[in-house]
C-alpha cells in the first residue's frame, strides 16, 4: 500500500542521492537536482537524508494515498494541495488513506520534492533508486511517473516523535538574476584571457535547453584559445562546458560521465540548487570564488543538515 498515480505531472521521477561507482562504465549518477531541498524533505519525515523521494518539475503529480503515511513537500513552491486545501510545505504532514495530493503549478522555483516516511518501495539498480531517463534505468521502470503507476511505501508511519516541531523555514528562489559562484578549472587554460574576463563580466540567459542533463546559456561567446575540443575526460557535477560556439552548458545530475569539450569552471556545490530551481529566461551571472571557500561552504551546508538531523531525528536514532 502506498500511492497511486492519477496524473504524473510534467516530469516526476524517483531520485535519491545518486548512483555512484558506475561512472567509469559510462553510467550517469543522476540524483536529486536540488540536493538541499531533497535532504530537508527526507529529514522532516525521519528518513536518512539520502532516501529515495519524488522529484517533480513545474507541474506536480496527482497522487491518491492507499494507506496513511507522513510526508513532507519541499523545494520550489508548486502549490501542494491535500483534498483541495493548501498543504503546508517544509513541514511533516500526516496524510490519511484516501486523501489526494495535487499541485496547482509553480509559483516560485520549479522543482519540488515529496519525501515519504520510511521511503518508497523501489528496487535499487546498481545501488540506487534514482531514475536515469536517458538509459531507462532505475526508479519506476526507468521512466517518469505515469497515470496508473502505483508505488508502495516501505515502512509507512502515522506518528513521529516531535511532530509539531518537524518544520523549517521554506527556501525562496530568486525570480530575476541567478548568481552562481564558480571555481575555475579544469580547463580554464583552454580559454583566452579575454574569454575568461567576459565569462565573469557578462551575464547570460537560461535557454529552453534546460533539463536534468544540463542547462544551456545564451550569451556573448566565450573565446577559446583553440577549437574548444579536448581529449575526452571526466565531468563533475556543475561543470561548465564551453563547446566551439562559445556558449556554456552547465552539466547537471544526468550529465554524461565523460565529455570532450573544454570546461572553463565548475559551479560550487552549494549553488547547484539555485540552478535546479531556475527557469528558462532568467539571467545568470558567474562569480569566481576560491576552492577553499567552495569547500568550506559545502562542509557548512553538510553540517547544517547533520544538525537538523540530530535535532529532528536524534532520538529516533538511539
Amino acid at each position: 500500500m502506498g500511492i497511486s498515480v492519477e496524473n504524473g505531472g510534467i516530469l516526476t521521477t524517483v531520485q535519491d542521492e545518486g548512483r555512484f561507482g558506475y561512472q567509469a562504465y559510462g553510467v550517469s549518477t543522476s540524483g536529486a537536482m536540488d540536493s538541499h531541498a531533497f535532504h530537508i524533505a527526507n529529514l522532516l519525515v525521519g528518513n536518512k537524508m539520502t532516501e529515495g523521494a519524488l522529484e517533480m518539475t513545474f507541474m506536480g503529480p496527482t497522487l491518491t494515498f492507499t494507506c496513511d503515511n507522513i510526508i513532507a513537500v519541499t523545494g520550489g513552491d508548486l502549490m501542494p494541495m491535500l483534498d483541495g486545501q493548501p498543504m503546508p510545505m517544509y513541514q511533516a504532514v500526516l496524510v490519511r488513506k484516501g486523501q489526494k495530493l495535487q499541485f496547482g503549478g509553480a509559483r516560485n522555483g520549479c522543482r519540488g520534492y515529496i519525501a515519504f516516511a520510511g521511503g518508497l518501495e523501489i528496487p535499487e539498480v546498481m545501488g540506487s533508486k534514482s531514475t536515469l531517463l536517458r538509459n531507462n534505468l532505475g526508479g519506476v521502470k526507468g521512466r517518469k511517473l505515469e497515470k496508473g503507476d502505483t508505488i508502495a511505501f516501505t515502512a509507512p508511519k502515522t506518528e513521529l516523535s516531535n511532530m509539531e516541531n518537524r518544520k523549517v523555514p521554506a527556501d525562496i528562489y530568486p525570480a530575476d538574476e541567478v548568481v552562481l559562484r564558480v571555481v575555475l578549472g579544469p580547463q580554464d587554460d583552454e580559454f583566452t584571457e579575454r574569454g575568461i574576463r567576459s565569462f565573469f563580466w557578462n551575464s547570460g540567459v537560461i535557454t529552453d535547453e534546460f533539463d536534468r542533463m544540463g542547462c544551456r546559456i545564451e550569451r556573448e561567446p566565450i573565446e577559446h584559445k583553440g577549437d574548444g575540443n579536448i581529449n575526452t575526460d571526466g565531468i563533475s557535477l556543475g561543470s561548465i562546458q564551453v563547446p566551439a560556439n562559445g556558449k556554456p552548458i552547465i552539466m547537471l545530475a544526468d550529465r554524461q560521465s565523460t565529455g570532450g569539450y573544454a570546461k572553463i569552471g565548475t559551479v560550487i556545490s552549494v549553488d547547484l540548487p539555485k540552478i535546479a530551481q531556475s527557469r528558462p529566461g532568467q539571467k545568470v551571472r558567474f562569480i569566481q570564488v576560491s576552492l577553499e571557500l567552495a569547500q568550506s561552504l559545502y562542509i557548512r551546508e553538510r553540517n547544517k543538515m547533520l544538525e537538523l538531523d540530530e535535532k529532528l531525528n536524534g532520538q529516533e536514532a538511539l
Binding site: G21, A24, T232, G234, K263
Partner: protein, 239 residues
C-alpha cells in the same frame, strides 16, 4: 612523472598524465586507478579513467583538496611499471555483413579492397579499450596496426541497433543500446554489451583488449540463445 592536478570543482580533481591519446599515457591512468583500488583513500567516492586522465570524485567533508593531492602524490610515487600489468583479452564474436552489417561492402569499396580483407584487418588485430563512456558500457577502442582510411559517414544515422559493431580509421566501437551513430556498421555481435539484469552488467572494462572473431549466422543464433539463457561464457585470456 609529469602529472597535473586539475581542479574540477569542490568535489573532484582530474589527474592528467599528458595530452596525447596513446597507450603509454593511458597505461599511467590505469596504474593510478589500480593503485587506488589497492590502497584506497578514505573519502574518495569513485574514479573515472579516460584517455589521458583519471578524475577522482571525493568528499571534502572527509578530506580537502590539499590532503587529497598529497595522498594521490604518495600513490603516484611508487606506481607499478606497465610491464607488470597483465593484458586481459576478451573474444567478441561478430557476424560480419548481411542485414546487421549493412556497410561492410561500402567499407570495402572505400578501402578499394575486398570484404574479406576488411574482415581480416578488423579481426586479426587486438583492440584496446581506452575508456568507457557516452552510454552505459560503451567502449572507446582502438587498434594499432593497419588502420582503415575512411572516417565517419557523411550523414549520421538517426538510430542504429544495439550490439552493432561500428568502425572508422583505427577505431571500432560496440553499441550497447539503440542510438544515433555516424560510423559505418560492419557487423553485429550476439553478446550483450550492457545488461542491467546481470550482476556484472558490462561486457568490457577500460584497459582490456578485444579480439573480434568472425562467426556464421548459425553460430550467431546459437551464441545469442546462450547469452539470453545466461549460459554463455565470454572467452577471456590473459597474457
Amino acid at each position: 612523472m609529469d602529472v597535473k592536478f586539475l581542479i574540477a570543482g569542490d568535489r573532484a580533481v582530474s589527474v592528467e598524465f599528458g595530452k596525447e591519446i596513446c597507450l603509454e599515457i593511458n597505461a599511467k591512468v590505469r596504474m593510478l586507478e589500480d593503485k587506488l583500488k589497492e590502497e584506497p583513500i578514505e573519502g574518495v567516492v569513485e574514479c573515472v579513467p579516460t584517455y589521458c586522465s583519471l578524475i577522482v570524485h571525493y568528499r571534502p567533508e572527509i578530506l580537502l583538496y590539499d590532503q587529497l593531492v598529497q595522498e594521490l602524490k604518495k600513490r603516484l610515487e611508487n606506481l607499478r611499471g606497465p610491464r607488470e600489468q597483465k593484458k586481459i583479452i576478451k573474444e567478441v564474436p561478430v557476424l560480419y555483413g548481411g542485414e546487421t552489417g549493412p556497410d561492410l561492402e561500402y567499407c570495402a569499396q572505400l578501402e578499394q579492397t575486398s570484404v574479406e580483407e576488411i574482415i581480416r584487418k578488423h579481426s586479426q588485430h587486438e583492440y584496446y579499450v581506452y575508456m568507457l563512456g557516452f552510454a552505459p558500457g560503451h567502449p572507446y577502442m582502438a587498434r594499432f596496426e593497419e588502420p582503415f582510411g575512411f572516417k565517419r559517414r557523411e550523414s549520421p544515422r538517426v538510430s542504429i541497433p544495439e550490439r552493432s559493431v561500428v568502425v572508422q580509421q583505427n577505431l571500432s566501437d560496440l553499441i550497447p543500446f539503440k542510438q544515433p551513430c555516424g560510423w559505418n556498421i560492419i557487423g553485429s555481435t550476439p553478446l550483450d554489451i550492457c545488461n542491467y539484469e546481470k550482476e556484472d552488467p558490462f561486457l568490457l572494462n577500460a584497459g582490456e583488449w578485444v579480439r573480434y572473431v568472425p562467426i556464421t549466422k548459425a553460430e550467431y543464433t546459437q551464441i545469442r540463445r546462450e547469452v539470453e539463457n545466461g549460459t554463455y561464457q565470454v572467452k577471456t585470456y590473459t597474457r
